[in-house]
């Protein structure tokens, strides 16, 4: 279909609560990436999926962060026991394949605010 979609667009939560962020990649894209963008900072890599498997989880900042992808499509990023330092824009990107470097198409992001 259209581009990468993410939901919700904005999420305000209280410290200690769990949140789930959703990413719908472009249909047919096998690779999916999660990045985090803090205010005034560049994009920080979190995790990458090839199909449903995650060969690279090296960017997850702590064990409070987890992600899954089902059916080779939708991905969910879960943050447990949120902390104020988790406040950021969480961006999802997808690309057609991983053979060679392929353009990553980004969604609009989810702005997470932890009070």
């Amino acid at each position: 279909g259209a581009g990468v979609s993410q939901s919700p667009s904005n999420k305000v939560t209280e410290k200690g609560k769990d949140v789930e962020l959703r990413c719908d990649p472009i249909s047919g894209h096998t690779a999916l990436y999660w990045y985090r963008q803090s205010l005034g900072q560049g994009l920080e890599f979190l995790i990458y999926f090839q199909g449903n498997s995650a060969p690279d989880k090296s960017g997850l900042p702590s064990d409070r962060f987890s992600a899954e992808r089902t059916g080779g499509s939708v991905s969910t990023l879960t943050i447990q026991r949120t902390q104020q330092e988790d406040s950021a824009v969480y961006l999802c990107a997808s690309s057609f394949r991983t053979g060679g470097h392929n353009e990553q198409f980004f969604g609009p992001g989810t702005r997470l605010t932890v009070l």
């Binding site: 994009l43 890599f45 690279d56 090296s58 470097h101």
Partner: protein
């Protein structure tokens, strides 16, 4: 060794002028260098990309210059327009291993083009 350093943090240019943004990297395994453009409230979008086998790539008003020995690359925007006002990110990626497709981003440059 995974860092990509970007400068300047912000740039103000008059309409019709040349905007120049610089990036430097350390990891010699990087073999893909894209530039992304991000407007407020939107996800980054690929602007132009280069591989280290060429020293320059031009697309319209946008040019990437690449210096492999210095491990530096830059974006030049000719005849800058107010519509170019956005945040620009350089990035670098390395093929192979479990980091296939993962991008390391610079900190971003906020470009303002005055009419």
């Amino acid at each position: 060794q995974q860092q990509v350093k970007q400068s300047p943090q912000s740039l103000i240019v008059q309409k019709g002028g040349i905007s120049i943004i610089n990036c430097a990297y350390e990891n010699t395994a990087f073999d893909y260098f894209p530039w992304y453009q991000q407007f407020p409230g939107k996800g980054p979008a690929l602007l132009i990309a280069i591989r280290p086998d060429v020293s320059e790539k031009k697309e319209g008003r946008f040019t990437i210059s690449f210096n492999k020995s210095a491990k530096q690359f830059s974006l030049h925007i000719m005849d800058s327009q107010p519509g170019d006002s956005a945040t620009y990110f350089c990035a670098a990626g390395a093929a192979g291993g479990t980091s296939y497709g993962k991008l390391t981003f610079g900190q971003g440059t906020i470009l303002t083009v005055h009419p």
